[in-house]
């Protein structure tokens, strides 16, 4: 068999260089894109139609900072304005999430495995990643910290604030670094005169994290006082 033609630049550049590469892209990358063509990409404006309750909570907790960095939505808060601020916060929050490399230690998809479903919640499906904030996708590759795609409402805003400021103060075993630049000092007439509050980036990253998975957030209000003993272990 004469294989000399396989050794020429035309073959190596043309067949393997262009041909095989394009074949791989068509099979492995265009395939998924075509299969998902009927799930349109949601824009941030569409996402921000449902303002998460935690965003209102931020307005209550940190009113001065909220008004300073996003704007004053009035009282009671104007819903259209809140949607606009929410979109702003989500965009900035995702930017911070990427800039700090959060996605190298936190994944954003739950695999269809029993332990992950019990630990984090329902398995991920394709449509929940079809939005502008997954551009590029933030699936992540490593879990030094837990997965975040079901994080919405699991913890409160002040927990997140305290945790971003000093993770070891909240979780002594944590190896997460401190993000003190998400915070600023505010003068208050109590608590030794100074209070540490999130700045724009802090508010945005908390909003972003609280948004992750807000679409599967259980409607339950709190501790089921009258749950049967068996339900306690769910």
């Amino acid at each position: 068999m004469n294989t000399r033609w396989l050794e020429r630049a035309s073959a190596t550049l043309g067949i393997s260089g262009f041909g095989f590469f394009i074949f791989s892209v068509v099979a492995m990358a265009l395939g998924p894109v075509v299969m998902l063509r009927k799930v349109p990409m949601q824009t941030v404006e569409q996402i921000s139609q449902n303002v998460i309750p935690d965003f209102y909570d931020l307005l209550v907790r940190y009113p001065d900072e909220f008004k300073k960095y996003f704007g004053d939505p009035g009282d009671p808060p104007d819903e259209a304005k809140m949607r606009q601020y929410f979109a702003e916060a989500l965009r900035l929050g995702r930017k911070v999430y990427i800039a700090e490399g959060c996605w190298h230690c936190h994944s954003q998809f739950v695999r269809p495995l029993a332990d992950e479903q019990l630990r984090f919640g329902p398995t991920s499906w394709a449509a929940e990643h079809q939005n502008e904030l997954q551009l590029p996708p933030l699936f992540g590759t490593r879990r030094v910290g837990p997965d975040l795609i079901r994080e919405a409402g699991v913890r409160s805003n002040d927990w997140h604030a305290a945790h971003f400021y000093d993770p070891q103060a909240v979780v002594p075993d944590s190896v997460m670094p401190r993000f003190t630049w998400f915070f600023e000092e505010r003068k208050v007439p109590y608590e030794n005169g100074v209070k540490i509050v999130p700045n724009q980036r802090g508010l945005a990253i908390i909003t972003y994290v609280q948004w992750l998975g807000s679409w599967v957030r259980p409607p339950a209000e709190g501790v089921p006082l009258t749950a049967s003993a068996a339900e306690d272990y769910r």
Partner: protein, 478 residues
């Protein structure tokens, strides 16, 4: 089996065409030095970031040195600073010799060299100031991506010109790998950095990002690494590669199967299952192909095992090949879905990545640096002992790091599987992580030894006897 010698013999230091030297030694040397400089930047980043894992990060609370950002400096400098510069050095040395034609333009070579270093500096600055892009191993800031694209194209044009000048003559194995990789790297960079960033979100984008990550290893680093092996191993051993047929199988098998692998980074994700299964199958296929290549190289060494002791470059090369076989075997095992359940997201993967990028390609790069440096500075290595120290410290460091993190990965996977509290994983990982930093220090120590040794060698007076050998330095006809 005979080896089809298909090279136009590169004749000495001068090309036939004119006064221009065949190999631009200054560029080769420049790329080697730059490679080492960025290697130190990357190593420092890795060392610092690893200290965060046991809460002893030396610069806590400093925004510009945030561990998350430093990690990206580590990975990007290893890929684009250390490995790319080193490979350009190797290609600038070998392509003219294999084709008989010099690179397109020395001026272009210098433009590429300096431009690339400036780009890398901007990448470091951009990442540290918080402008990273969320593409793994393409964290280079979005506004720098166009420059990188253009510059990679410039570098490729410069190197592909001598290959095209062969006008359809059959090429030597090395050049198959190089030429294919040039196309792959450019296309891959354009695909991975622009499509998920601007057009395709979610699962589709992840499929593309997965291809990008893997193609960066499989279609840029691996082919050029193997190309350099096909050049340096026969030339140092002074005997041809054992089987030309296996070389053909190795190249075409890799070229077909490697690009299909990428999605195995996102198994059990929302990417359609046929793509995931396809990635698993082709990953196993790559392992089979790799075995043929490894067999080919070890048969080339037959009867000359002693060179592993006497020749440092050969020892580096074959150490790398053992690591390569290990990683590929590991690949075939770890992409199996039941294994993925345990090891995905754990330090097992980190161990694997370090084994591929450093124990394989790092070893090969150190090997041909060891080979080329005396020729470039026209002086023999100053001390054999220091070469040995470099080899042993680095090798010991990377292999113990690999073993530690692999064991740790299994432990983490099973702790998660058992639904233990997350903190259990962290608490039980910390001893491993401390040891990992120690292994990193070994690697850094080895590299410091090498850098010092290279510097000290270059400063020696020129011995007359060596001058001749360097002048006549020639790749033994493969």
């Amino acid at each position: 089996m005979t080896n089809h010698v298909s090279t136009h013999p590169g004749s000495g230091a001068l090309s036939g065409a004119g006064e221009r030297p065949l190999v631009n030694l200054a560029l080769v040397k420049g790329h080697i030095v730059a490679s080492l400089v960025w290697f130190f930047v990357g190593l420092t980043g890795g060392l610092l970031f690893s200290m965060q894992f046991f809460r002893h990060y030396p610069f806590p609370g400093i925004e510009l040195l945030s561990p998350g950002r430093v990690r990206m400096v580590h990975t990007n400098m290893m890929a684009y600073g250390f490995i790319l510069n080193a490979f350009f050095a190797g290609m600038l040395w070998s392509i003219p010799r294999l084709t008989g034609f010099p690179i397109l333009s020395d001026k272009l070579g210098r433009l590429f060299f300096w431009g690339w270093q400036v780009i890398l500096a901007f990448v470091v600055g951009g990442i540290l100031t918080g402008h990273a892009q969320a593409v793994e191993w393409g964290e280079t800031p979005v506004f720098i991506d166009p420059f990188i694209s253009v510059w990679v194209l410039l570098g490729v044009v410069n190197l592909v010109a001598p290959i095209l000048k062969t006008r359809g003559r059959p090429l030597y194995v090395t050049l198959w790998y190089f030429s294919a990789s040039f196309v792959w790297t450019v296309l891959n960079y354009l695909m991975g950095n622009y499509i998920p960033q601007f057009f395709v979100p979610g699962a589709g984008g992840a499929a593309i990002a997965g291809l990008f990550i893997h193609d960066l290893v499989g279609l840029f680093v691996t082919p050029i690494g193997w190309g350099l092996m096909y050049y340096f191993v026969p030339s140092i051993l002074n005997r041809p590669i054992w089987s030309h047929a296996l070389s053909l199988v190795g190249f075409w098998g890799l070229a077909f199967f490697y690009p299909l692998n990428g999605v195995h980074h996102f198994l059990y994700s929302t990417i359609p299952m046929y793509v995931q299964y396809g990635a698993v199958v082709s990953t196993v296929a790559v392992e089979l192909v790799v075995t043929t290549v490894i067999v080919n190289f070890f048969m080339t060494l037959r009867g000359m095992g002693r060179t592993l002791v006497t020749s440092l470059p050969i020892r580096w090369f074959y150490t790398g090949m053992v690591a390569y076989f290990t990683t590929c075997l590991q690949c075939a095992v770890q992409v199996q879905l039941p294994v993925q359940q345990i090891i995905h997201f754990t330090d097992w993967v980190v161990a694997h990545a370090h084994l591929v990028m450093f124990a394989v390609f790092g070893s090969w790069i150190m090997g041909f640096f060891t080979e080329l440096w005396p020729r470039l500075v026209r002086r023999p290595w100053k001390s054999r002992a220091l070469l040995e120290w470099h080899y042993w410290l680095t090798t010991l460091g990377i292999w113990t790091m690999f073993l530690t993190l692999t064991a740790l990965g299994l432990q983490q996977g099973y702790l998660w599987r058992g639904l233990n509290p997350w903190e259990d994983m962290l608490r039980s990982s910390i001893p491993f992580w401390v040891f990992r930093t120690f292994t990193g220090v070994l690697i850094i120590a080895g590299t410091v030894v090498f850098a010092y040794h290279a510097w000290a060698t270059a400063r020696q007076p020129v011995p007359a006897a060596v001058t001749e050998r360097v002048e006549g330095a020639e790749p033994a006809a493969p």
